[in-house]
Amino acid sequence: MADTDRQAVVRVEHLSKHFGEGAARVDALRDIDLQVFPGQVVGLMGPSGSGKTTLLHCIACILEPSTGRLTLDGEVVYDGRWLKANLRRLRLDKIGFIFQYPNLLPFLDGSDNVAVVLDLAGFSAAAARARAIELLDYLEVGHRKHALPKQLSGGEAQRVAIARALANKPRIILADEPTAPLDSARARIVMDLLRRIALDQKAAVIVVTHDEMILDHFDHIYRLRDGRLETDAPAGIRGHQLASGTSP
């Protein structure tokens, strides 16, 4: 994949994050640089406490970095301070987040859990619902659109959560251990799905994972240890071999 001839969707430059001050200071991230291009699926790996989740939270704009610069979809959102006043709107418009556990709203059925994002974005109820059903069908879970989260299996719930993350056609998809609660077969299905979405929607996908079994799904793997980036290793082979599906 020719990364250099395109603009990075996610660009992290000299990003650091520390908690506490003085003797109690903990440096969670130190001088991190990374970039993710459209259509790329990037893995963020490392042992517990290495800072991968902190980095993901900084990119998701829910944790303020201490120093550095963060550019999302060509827009500098952090440069020593937040440059955007409404970070929630930024997340709604640009970022789709897939949690380790589906985190579906328990009082909404499958289609409404997806439609809620579009409703918040200002879509009409009918348009939101149509798009939600389209996405659920794309993720092969359309037949469960009326099921409440408690009635869904783990895999189905995770697909609904992925549909929710994709609802507003975000340029950035962040996934925090999305395969952790799944068996290896289902984990591969989810990763194939993320790969397909990255290609279809030209989105940048960043996946935090411990799972060594899914390494071949990544175009790049960033390994973190003690808050520092260890390697920037190209890993993807499988992604390029996947046929692209139809974008919903």
């Binding site: 997340r91 949690f99 985190n103 009082f107 994002v117």
Partner: protein
């Protein structure tokens, strides 16, 4: 998408059970309001029932309700002759205890002159008093039926119920009964036979029964009431009170303590309701912290979160209010005193309920706004 409605629908049983408790509480608030309304209405009802323009009572008293008043029976003749007085009637008031259907009951007896001012306002069954003695018109709350007899007074006279009224009770809830003035005078002033014999034996003065508590006067519409009152007050042994003064005496002095007590209970209940609603809203918000964090994470603005909580609090309050109102209306006939629920009071209680809900939801809103979106990631590694 209405998130509050979806959440309520999802937890319908919890919502219904919570609202049932809340409706009982709000029902008590509404009931106390109705008791308060009944207290004032009952107090004024006796004065209004007489349909008087002027009350002529013993000089220097605020009779006949606020204070005892005793004047000569011929005062009515005197009052009738005053310029401007169209009609006048003598009345007596007294409380008695008697046995009705085997149980002790209190009655508020009004003695009046049939055909003159001071009689019952409206009968719902039976007829007016036609005979000179031993007939009575009684409020239905006494539990008496037409034709039934009751024993009144020290001489044990039997009075036959010939007419029935509705909602004619005193401020303490005792049913009102009308009898002729003569009977009432006998009951009030006649000594029991042994006491009368003793009086005769000791050579005491012969007591006259011809005493009354007040004279009710209807004034000609062409003559100012105050002018007539001033003319009557020129007699040193009489005081003339206008209807307005009588109502002020009743509503502001006679029932003042009871009114304040009811008001205090109402205020306390409103405070208790506010605290309970606040705790319910807070608990419901606590249950939704994860969902709120997820909503914030995916980009929901604060107004969506606040809307979710306020709408649920209002739903609870409004549902609870109407369920409470329904309970009060259903059980109103079985309540031991008259409840008066006028539309204005219902609207005021409704507005108070809405204000309470809005105020109570601030606790939940505060909690919701403090929820960190990162809590949605709590179980993530």
């Amino acid at each position: 998408m209405n998130l509050a409605y979806r959440d309520i629908k999802h937890n319908l049983l919890r919502f219904v059970l919570t609202n049932f408790g809340l409706s009982l509480l709000l029902g008590i608030v509404i009931m106390i309001t109705a008791v308060y309304g009944g207290l004032i209405d009952d107090a004024l009802r006796q004065a209004r029932a007489a349909n008087a323009d002027l009350w002529v009572v013993e000089a220097g008293t605020n009779g006949p309700f606020a204070e005892a008043s005793r004047i000569s029976g011929d005062t009515r003749e005197l009052v009738s002759r005053v310029y401007g007085v169209e009609r006048a009637g003598s009345v007596t008031y007294q409380s008695v205890q008697t046995e009705i259907n085997g149980a002790p009951h209190r009655l508020f007896l009004i003695g009046f002159e049939p055909g003159r001012p001071g009689g019952p306002r409206k009968l719902t069954a039976g007829r007016n008093i036609l005979r000179g003695h031993y007939e009575a018109i009684v409020d239905r709350s006494a539990g008496l039926k037409l034709g039934q007899e009751i024993s009144l007074g020290t001489h044990g006279h039997k009075f036959t119920v010939v007419g029935l009224m509705t909602s004619e009770v005193t401020s303490s809830g005792d049913p009102v009964a009308y009898i002729t003035l003569r009977d009432a005078q006998a009951l009030q002033f006649e000594l029991a036979p042994p006491a009368a014999r003793r009086e005769v034996a000791r050579g005491g003065a012969v007591q006259t029964n011809d005493q009354i508590n007040a004279v009710i006067a209807k004034v000609s519409p062409y003559v100012p009431i105050n002018e007539v009152a001033a003319a009557l007050s020129r007699w040193k042994h009489l005081t003339a009170l206008t209807q307005e003064q009588q109502e002020t005496l009743l509503s502001q002095f006679v029932i003042e303590k009871a009114r304040k007590q009811q008001l205090l209970i109402m205020v306390l209940l409103v405070i208790v309701s506010a605290v309970i609603i606040a705790l319910i809203v807070y608990t419901l918000t606590m249950d939704k912290v994860r969902s709120i964090a997820t909503l914030k994470f995916i980009g929901a603005p604060d107004r969506t979160i606040v809307g979710l909580i306020v709408q649920q609090a209002l739903s609870m309050g409004i549902f609870g209010f109407f369920a409470g109102l329904a309970l009060v209306v259903i059980f109103k006939p079985y309540f031991p005193r008259r409840l008066v629920l006028d539309p204005e009071s219902v609207v005021v209680v409704f507005i108070i309920t809405v204000v309470i809900c809005l105020a109570a939801s601030t606790l939940g809103i505060r909690l919701a706004l403090k929820v960190d979106p990162a809590e949605a990631l709590a179980s993530s590694g």
